[in-house]
Amino acid sequence: MVHYMNIFQLSYKNLLRRKLRTTFTILGITLSAWVLITLLGFNNGYENSLNKDIEGMGFQIVLTAKGCPYEAATLMLKGGTGLRYMPEEIVQGVANDPDVAQTTAMLMHAEFDPDKGENGGTIVYLGIDIPSYPELKPYLTFKQGAWFQNAAERKVVLGFEAAELEQREVGDSMLLPGSAEEYQVVGILKRTGTQDDGMIFLPLKTVQKVFNKEGQLTMLGIRLKQTADANAFEEKLYSLPDVQVVSMAQVKNTILGLVSSAKVIVLSIAFIAFVIAMFGVLNTVLMSVFERYQEIGILKSMGALPKDIFVMILIETTLLCTLGGILGISLAFVFSGASEMAIRFFLPFTPNGNLILITTPTVVWSFLTIALIGIIGGIYPAQRAAHIRPLDAIRSE
């Protein structure tokens, strides 16, 4: 509309002149914005879900038999193989320590089941102590039934996924490997989104007996009193023979260390994508300035000041970047599920829950970064355009 003409209109109409070129430039920015947001979302999400997994354990410190610390870490979070054992007697000393609020002893047994999944899989049996285990994990709630009542019964509680896999309901009975006796299912847990979903829970004594591990434990979970100094307490435990102390903070750092190298690679990719996008903007805008050499000269003969032309070109780049940024952010949201699957595929250990968590500050910061990149890419062409003289246009034939 002629009544509301302004410099902004000139800019955007110019972008419409070369639709294909404009589209490709915007696409370039879209892609780099997408990569950036997804990466930052991953940064948030990974740590966040790792924290959640770790808090879900209900205890801050775990004692295990001596072994590789990384193995111990995954053992706790996923229920791994290569289990080692320590004597039950250890519990008493630790439980009586004044810093300790509660302990819970566990015996884990992993069994390969050729019928599980397509290629077989590991079934994890966890012997737990009643009532300390449920007390430490109050968030474990039941879809059906309840916990067994004492430590030696032939009763079973199934995690949500384990129940689906075994196709059992409360009241059904099931067999354990290497035992002819039947065990009764007394409870099925609700889905928690943690490693607990896949477990088969049994009374501690039962597991010790069935799998010939009497008097032995794989783990002792320890929750400290609020007032206790975790570091000092850990120091005390190091004096115990043949056990290792794994604190959750340590587990977290070990795992974060493992993924940090992957992050560096992705960060470099994002950086490269950004540099490319910036040169894309610079190239597009510079080309359109050269194409409009005469036109810009004429605008100046009509009274446009250098700063008017500078602003006009900068608006063009800002428009490109804003559009690309908005599209990229939208893509990041739309495809966060797919990106998450890709990350799970490539990383050695991934916690449960949302790996990509896109927060408002992430969106705002990314958007500002993209806008800034665009403006930087636009400054040189805008500068060139601002200094075109009317005469250059008139004389150029």
């Binding site: 002629v2 003409m5 009509m302 009274g303 008017d308």
Partner: protein, 229 residues
């Protein structure tokens, strides 16, 4: 009253080691309200002269005064912005090529100077009369590509006039037009001069068009060969 005074204007281009006097010691005055026609063979320096008069180009030496204000001369060179302000205040330009913005309609092209000069609202009141004078009322919403050459040049003239400049500079305004369209433009220029008192500086090869000048300058190799009133 003199609107423009030119004193010893000289423009030298270096072509390799050789010096080309595109304009050689030109002195004259232009009175307010006159039509000055500038003629001469190709390469005689017409464009060079008119660009300097319109403050689009600077002379190598000499003094140019526009409405009592020295634009080029002994004093320090004016900045690009200062020159722009002088151009805004006094001049409208028309060239052999029309230089319309292809993405804007006729009326938008005409209003274009106003968005830089921040007088859009005032100039909108001039839009209808200007369209009428130039016979473009029916074409207001068309794009340049939909116009004939004569119409395009009329749009360019309208654009030059929208700010009501005191001086209209036209460098071969009919150079790209056939004789019928040229006549239209000629009559238009005469009308503008008579009815609105606009000073016109007109460069042309066309002797018929040159006749409308109330005074005339003929150039030869950058020198003023003949001056007449």
């Amino acid at each position: 009253m003199n609107i423009i005074t030119a004193k010893n204007l000289t423009k030298i281009y270096a072509r390799g080691v050789e010096k080309v006097f595109a304009l050689n010691d030109a002195s004259f005055v232009i009175k307010k309200g006159e039509i000055l026609s500038i003629t001469g063979a190709s390469g005689s320096g017409k464009t060079t002269l008119v660009n300097i008069l319109g403050c689009l180009d600077n002379p190598t030496s000499g003094v140019l005064t526009v409405a009592e204000q020295q634009v080029f001369g002994e004093q320090k060179e004016l900045s690009e912005a200062a020159l722009t302000l002088i151009r805004r205040q006094y001049f409208g330009y028309v060239f052999q090529k029309f230089f319309l913005i292809p993405t804007l309609t006729v009326q938008e092209n005409i209003m274009l100077p106003s968005i830089f000069q921040k007088n859009l609202q005032t100039n909108l009141q001039n839009l209808q009369p200007t369209l009428e004078i130039l016979g473009l009322t029916q074409r207001a919403r068309h794009l340049p590509a939909e116009l004939s050459g004569g119409e395009m040049q009329r749009v360019a003239i309208a654009r030059a006039l929208i700010n009501k400049p005191q001086v209209l500079l036209a460098d071969e305004p009919t150079g790209n037009l056939d004789s019928k369209r040229s006549d239209e433009i000629k009559n238009l220029l005469v009308t503008l001069n008579r009815e609105q008192g606009i000073t016109i500086i007109l460069v042309t090869h066309n002797p018929d068009l040159a006749k409308i000048g109330s005074s005339a300058i003929e150039l030869l190799d950058g020198k003023i060969l003949k001056k007449s009133c």
